[in-house]
Subunit: 385 residues, 2 copies
């Protein structure tokens, strides 16, 4: 087997483009010097465009989960009533964080693999009119569901001034996000998915409505105090020593995204999703989600006649290719393919072709090549590039 | 001027060794895969040796400040009485964190540039016998003071079961630390100083006595919940997606430290300190700290007859060399030279020679070359290497 090749097709961490790796290897600089300020001043407007906001996108040196916790400790007061949409493991995480802070937490629980609906929201607000904040997961990594954030937000806003708090860790940068236009109040993402970077940065943007709440909120916080980050970022600096090598990489990754054009980045992710889904449909291997609920960044497959874990072992052993397994109640029942960030149509053709072999070796009855052919046909429907 | 050279002699972030930069540019891997577990299993015993402990050294994806906050929210209950030694800006930060969480906080405030003493501790415990935790800064980066942690800890332990919590961000890895032998309860460090890495990882080790307190502490915490980190790390994994590129670098940096030998690493830092201090003494330029209080990782200089900020501008403009200025009450009054991590005797000879020129240009009356000569003589006193 060819050594020193690894093909990472899990839903994050995602592969790093070579030019981003090189950027991260730049010599270290002082975090209080002009070079750091210059870098932040370049990064700030680019991040705003990705989030679809005029607000600052704050940059925390932390995993995405710390961004989710920052949303909770800044924007929710100790005795507030909140609503959490749980459509998988990361929705559960939002609920766990709220419960840790003894917040009165109502849940909308969807079947894993299905998105939340507008009528779920309607019912929840009718039952609990005093909800002060709604937490939702944009892409639920554990199932490959993309919740209809725009529509859910519109329904919430038509009924309430509740803050709308969105975990966009596993899709922002790969899926269009219009924070301001959609009326979202806090939007969180992380570096290791569609942003094509290693983990270690959390991004978080805050609406005026949310700032108003945050400034009056007595919940103690220090490292995750968003006001500290805001006050520093507008002066092109950070309250604490930032992960500078990741910022070098972020600047480069954002440049790559703008070179491609954000519209094209989003179209590429949409195409990768369609290629992947059409392949499994042609192979007759069931997808976990329906088309209308599917995320452009990750696809979950739920095999009927072979073992997902055997497939994963074959892929790893024969092609050094990694796809993810299922989490929690979906453990051993699904496999998940990441197609986010540094991932091209050619990469997906490769992944599908190898997965076909692995399905065959795992005992699944498929016609070899038929998945690839469907993906090729899907590819040819789109514009070039 | 030669382009693309930067000589970073600030007290962190410190320069990155080329082999560490290359290690960090390795292709991304899955954070739940065997490669990550293997890496953590290699890192764990090496970190323990640096901290001088049999306990796990937990690895948080965060700046050092989050490590300090983790110590507070895990080990201090809401109504505890604590003592914070403030000998500079980072002691103040510990106090700020405690105050944020409404903890009853007593202070030992030393003159900036002086270390705390055993009798400071004696007096504080006589005045406040119910102190449940004592926070101290091992190396106070803002002044270049090394507090006598071992002696202070012995005095505390002779009087009390109070937890001893140490901020070792700017010296651990460059200065011997014997957590277990000295009876320290929580020891925090960060990646961007003597560990020769970019910022983005906080390290934190916890004694059995502290775990006992932590397990009974109702203070809410999620991302900084040390028990979550411990329960995962002992299984060679992490509760949240870690900054994998920094872990690649950490493994390599720890290998470099062991190749050199930890005893030799500490001797090198001691020698760098002595070379630097002997140079300024020979030049007749005052040092902020006395020899007995001086840190092996950073030296603060307090010029009498020239402007520290002019010196910094000359160094930056003519040699692309950065030293740090003063913070808070020492702003514009001192400059600080970092000699931690990836820094050799040859690097210090270079820094001292360039600083001599900058002193002359800033109007200081010195004999050119006399600082370098003193540093050379100091070098020759030591063993080779």
């Amino acid at each position: 087997m060819l050594t020193d090749q690894q093909i990472l097709r899990i839903p994050g961490p995602s592969p790093i483009p070579p030019s981003v790796s090189l950027a991260m290897a730049q010599p270290m600089i002082g975090h209080r010097g002009q070079s750091t300020s210059d870098m932040l001043s370049v990064i700030r407007p680019k991040l705003k465009r990705v989030f679809g906001t005029e607000q600052e996108v704050l940059i925390l040196t932390a995993s995405g989960t710390a961004g989710l916790e920052a949303a909770v400790v800044n924007a929710v007061a100790p005795h507030d009533e909140v609503l959490v949409i749980v459509s998988g493991a990361f929705g559960e995480r939002f609920a766990d964080i709220c419960k840790t802070y003894n917040i009165q937490t109502h849940l909308i629980e969807t079947e894993w693999g299905k998105a939340a609906t507008v009528s779920d929201i309607t019912e929840a607000f009718e039952a609990h009119p005093n909800i002060r904040a709604v937490f939702m997961t944009y892409c639920e990594t554990s199932t490959g569901v993309l919740n209809p954030v725009k529509e859910l937000a519109a329904e919430i806003r038509s009924r309430s001034e509740a803050l709308i708090i969105v975990d966009g860790v596993s899709c922002i940068g790969g899926v269009e996000t219009r924070m301001d236009e959609w009326g979202l109040d806090i939007v969180v993402s992380g570096s290791q998915k569609a942003f094509m970077l290693p983990a270690g940065l959390a991004f978080i943007a805050v609406s005026d409505r949310a700032w108003n709440k945050i400034e009056r909120n007595p919940q103690p916080r220090f490292y995750l105090d968003l006001k500290k980050h805001q006050d520093n970022l507008i002066k092109d600096t950070t309250p604490f020593t930032p992960a500078l090598s990741l910022l070098f990489g972020l600047q480069k990754a954002l440049e790559l995204m703008e070179e491609e054009g954000l519209v094209n980045v989003y179209a590429r992710h949409d195409r990768l999703m369609k290629m992947t889904r059409s392949a499994f449909k042609a192979l007759g291997v069931p997808l976990l989600t329906e088309d209308k609920d599917a995320s452009p960044t990750v696809t979950a497959v739920k095999p009927a006649d072979f073992d997902a874990e055997v497939l994963r072992k074959v892929l790893k052993g024969e092609f050094a290719m990694e796809v993810a397994g299922g989490q929690k109640i979906l453990a051993n029942k699904i496999f998940r393919i990441g197609h986010m960030g540094y991932c091209s149509p050619a990469d997906m053709l490769q992944a599908i072709a190898a997965i076909e072999i692995a399905i065959a070796k795992a005992g699944g009855e498929i016609q070899l090549g038929s998945g690839v052919r469907a993906a090729q046909q899907e590819y040819l429907k789109g514009a070039n590039g």
